[in-house]
């Protein structure tokens, strides 16, 4: 059974059909790419998958559980986390606190426990700090734990966003243009990071990307979206050589 099964997904904003009849099946352990020209509806699909938008049609199943129309929090608990096209860290919080914010639901203690600083508070906060540092280590961010997120260099902010998303312990991680604004060297580093996420954390990855070096470098399978509809899908090499895909990107 596929980890993520999307069937005939669609959403209309007024008269605009932003996504229409979109289906995809992602297996556990896949590194899957979603590509397409600007305005094709890629980010809209991420917003549908994470419950930011409610689909007008179709269904979304994660690991056998129907999550169609569920709230963002329920979907996050079910196991989908994401990063954003334009970085949206909690910029005034420290690197460590950003990741700890992502751990909120995994370590439960009451507000009263926090106010009165009961022994449970100290134990769980210590466990959270340890877990957060563990999540930061593969991204080489553990040394920057006390830095305010806004003061990190750009490439590290991208990595921190991934670490924060992983803190919610997802089965599926959605990366929205992770290489946006990166130079080729940073992109190469990012490709390793994404492979680490998949191989060491055991998280399935679905990413949106325009950077073809990254897409052809690490994605195993692709879906191409054009004008809100699925144009083509399959193994990366095959899809990128498809005449329809080349036409959508380059014109006639």
């Amino acid at each position: 059974m596929a980890l993520l099964e999307v069937k005939k997904l669609g959403i209309s904003f007024g008269g605009l059909r932003a996504v229409d009849d979109f289906s995809v099946s992602i297996e556990k352990g896949d590194l899957y790419g979603l590509i397409g020209p600007n305005g094709a509806g890629k980010t809209t699909i991420f917003n549908l998958l994470t419950g930011v938008y409610k689909p007008t049609d179709g269904s979304i199943t994660l690991d056998g559980v129907n999550i169609t129309g569920k709230s963002t929090i329920e979907i996050n608990k079910a196991g989908i986390a994401r990063t954003f096209q334009n970085i949206r860290l909690f910029s005034k919080l420290s690197v460590l606190d950003n990741v700890k914010a992502g751990l909120t639901n995994k370590y439960r203690y009451s507000t009263a426990t926090g106010i009165f600083r009961l022994p449970k508070y100290f134990r769980l906060e210590r466990e959270m700090t340890e877990r957060a540092l563990e999540l930061l280590r593969p991204f080489e961010l553990d040394g920057d734990a006390d830095v305010i997120a806004a003061n990190l260099p750009y490439g590290k902010q991208r990595k921190l966003e991934i670490a924060r998303a992983l803190a919610t312990d997802p089965k599926l991680l959605l990366l929205d243009e992770p290489a946006a604004g990166m130079n080729p060297k940073e992109t190469a580093g990012l490709m390793n990071t994404i492979l680490t996420v998949r191989d060491d954390f055991g998280v399935t990855v679905l990413l949106i990307e325009h950077d073809m070096a990254l897409v052809s470098g690490i994605c195993e399978k692709l879906s191409v979206l054009n004008f809100g509809q699925l144009l083509c899908e399959g193994p990366t090499g095959q899809v990128l050589n498809d005449p329809e895909v080349i036409k959508a990107y380059l014109g006639e």
Binding site: K100, G114, I115
Partner: protein, 293 residues
């Protein structure tokens, strides 16, 4: 010696303003709204304590605890009924609603307790401190106000910066959508903010009415506005800023009343606000906002 006396009075009043200002600043910092009904929650807290002590005959500290519980419930209820439906509306709509809630609370109190002010019995029964052979007498209410406000500021800072719920509040204050996508329950976090702010309002009510023992349905209005000035003065959204702003406003008000003019004391407070806003729009401890071009 008179100056020292005024200064202590000012710090004491300022401490009360600080506790009220914390409620404003907390709600503004996290929910990004000005809860102008905050001052009236103080008045409700005052009446709850008065009723519990005078009519039910309870111990003063138990009465304060009951008032805190009542105001916490009231704060959560106000947020749920009046503000939550407006989460997506303009700030102006929420502001006007808050003013509406303020009048609503004042008029409910008017119906229940009548227009005649009641005399509030101090909740603090500690001995006063006499210094310099009786030249300076510090009332126990003043000492209590100062100690309580310091404890609250320290406690609240630790809570917001060092606990899971506090971290969730900071995350929500920066980016509600991103917080939600990280599994943080935004509605519950905002409710918690109102609960804490309103619980503090009850404590402020106890301190205010103990120091100035006349309680009517408009008791909370003016201190509420001055505490709002204090919050803006210190830098709205900043917890230490609320403390600094509260103390300064209290001291300025009392010294202004003593040395310049009793009638102009309030005018001086607001004039100070105008000057601060011209010189430093983000307040004394407020963060400078850099507009990205």
């Amino acid at each position: 010696m008179a100056f020292l006396d005024y200064l202590i009075n000012g710090i004491s009043l300022g401490s009360i303003y600080a506790v009220i200002a914390l409620g404003y600043t907390l709600v503004y910092g996290i929910a990004k709204m000005l809860n102008f009904a905050h001052g009236d929650v103080i008045m409700v807290g005052g009446y709850v304590i008065f009723t519990m002590m005078s009519n039910v005959g309870l111990n003063s500290y138990v009465s304060v605890l009951i008032a805190m519980a009542a105001c916490t419930v009231l704060g959560i209820t106000i947020e749920k009924i009046a503000y939550k439906p407006l989460r997506q509306s303009t700030n102006l709509a929420v502001l006007i609603t808050a003013i509406g809630v303020s009048y609503f609370l004042q008029n409910i109190a008017l119906i229940i307790f009548g227009e005649k002010p009641v005399t509030f019995k101090s909740v603090i029964d500690l001995p006063k401190i006499t210094l310099f052979d009786g030249q300076i007498v510090i009332k126990s209410e003043a000492i209590a106000s100062i100690i309580v406000s310091v404890v609250i500021v320290v406690g609240l800072s630790l809570f917001v910066n060092k606990t899971k719920s506090g971290r969730a509040m900071l995350a929500v204050s920066e980016d509600k959508d991103a917080a939600r996508l990280m599994g943080i329950n935004v509605n519950r976090t905002i409710s918690l903010t109102f609960a804490i702010g309103s619980g503090l309002a009850a404590i402020a009510g106890a301190l205010l009415c103990s120091s100035y023992p006349v309680l009517s349905n408009t008791t909370g209005a003016m201190p509420g506005i001055k505490a709002f000035v204090a919050a803006v003065f210190g830098g709205i959204g900043s917890i230490p800023g609320a403390m600094v702003g509260g103390l300064l406003i209290g001291v300025i008000e009392i010294l202004g009343r003593a040395y310049i003019s009793p009638q102009l004391a309030d005018a001086i407070v607001f004039a100070v606000l105008i000057i601060v806003l011209i010189v430093r729009p983000t307040g004394i401890l407020g963060k400078k906002v850099n507009e990205k071009v």
